[in-house]
Amino acid sequence: MNFRVEHDLHKRRFRRNLGLGLVLASFVVLLFGLTMVKVTTDDFTMQPTSEARD
């Protein structure tokens, strides 16, 4: 007897998890890209640290 029958329910759950994983991974890449663009533009300035202000 095979105890590892994959029902349609499991396939759908897997596709949902895979889809969500890919969306999250893409979001991480997008955030990284956005951060790189923001910090390399000409008008980007770092906030002075408290030590520097003193």
Binding site: D8, G19, L34, M36, V37
Partner: protein, 313 residues
């Protein structure tokens, strides 16, 4: 347990596929949102970095999708009645209404915050207002209350080019308002043509479309009146900063065809329409899809040609 009974339990416990969640975002409506927002962004006089532009369009699309999910949550009862919407995830039982609500709210908040971080507060505020307008003003209030639902509710679908423009410039200007007005004025004739040949669906669902409350003769007159106003606006836009010779040529051809189509609809009676299966109305509806796509395509092309000294006036 048979497969059939297992499937029933599956539907009720929310084991939906990834595609079901994507369907909640109304991907077909989203394509229009993405396209018009992109044109708004490209037509703006201020350039943005491609990564920022991509992120802006993505978050506008997610915001539009979120309002689609919230619309499906609110309208689940009428979606069950209408043939066109019966197979959507909520009426089909693949996703529960509560789940769709949580999904929509979470995505809406996410899209607005991310757009603010990626671009500016003006674009984010416009996106937030668009979601509010579509869900609360249109879906919850106007849609089931007045036959002018399409006219006022059409504003929700008209905001994306304005948001795209604001994402680039951080402001609202005459040109972005004109792009908004173009979609706003286009929506009523587009949907009323659809309502003419999808009458029974709206009647069964109790949605007070103009065809149901005022009759089909009045709807035909309304289509002509709105098309005349739309034509004047579309051609007039050609003389502004987002227009140019190419846009003007496209607008003249399309608006002539659109006016001819509207006049044909106006001159017909119901017997003639039923005799040929609403062929004229269906043709007008199809033309309306090309109409919007080509107008915004021409605006984008004018903007793309500017660096070569060809676009605009």
């Amino acid at each position: 347990m048979s497969d059939a009974s297992l499937n029933t339990v599956t539907s009720q416990t929310g084991e939906a596929d990834f595609g079901d969640y994507f369907a909640l975002l109304k991907p077909r409506v989203m394509t229009l949102v993405v396209f018009t927002a992109l044109v708004g962004l490209l037509a703006a006089p201020v350039g943005v970095h491609p990564v920022v532009g991509f992120a802006a369009i993505l978050f506008i699309a997610v915001g539009g999708g979120a309002s689609g999910a919230l619309n499906m949550w609110w309208d689940a009862d009428i979606d069950r009645v209408m043939k066109r919407t019966r197979s959507r995830p909520i009426p089909a039982g693949r996703i529960s209404a509560d789940e769709a609500f949580a999904f929509g709210i979470a995505l809406a908040g996410f899209a607005v915050v991310m757009l603010a971080l990626a671009t500016n507060l003006v674009a984010a505020a416009l996106l937030a207002f668009t979601i509010f307008f579509y869900v609360v003003i249109y879906s919850m209030w106007l849609k089931r209350w007045t036959p002018q639902n399409i006219v006022i509710g059409g504003a929700a679908g008209a905001f994306p080019p304005m948001i795209g423009w604001a994402a680039a410039t951080g402001s609202v200007s005459l040109e972005s308002v004109l792009m908004f007005a173009l979609i706003f004025m286009w929506t009523p004739p587009h949907f009323w043509a659809l309502a003419l040949f999808m009458r029974s669906d709206y009647e069964n669902a109790g949605v007070p479309m103009l065809t149901v409350t005022h009759g089909r003769r009045v709807t035909r007159v309304h289509i002509v009146v709105y098309t005349i106003l739309l034509a004047a606006l579309a051609v007039g836009t050609g003389f502004t900063a987002v227009g140019g010779p190419l846009y003007l040529a496209v607008a003249l051809v399309l608006n002539t065809l659109f006016l001819i189509g509207a006049l044909r609809i106006w001159r017909r009676d119901e017997d003639a329409a039923e005799a040929d299966g609403y062929a004229v109305e269906k043709r007008f509806f199809r033309l309306s899809l090309y109409y919007l796509f080509l107008h915004f395509g021409a605006i984008a092309l004018e903007a793309a040609l500017v660096p070569y000294g060809l676009g605009g006036w």
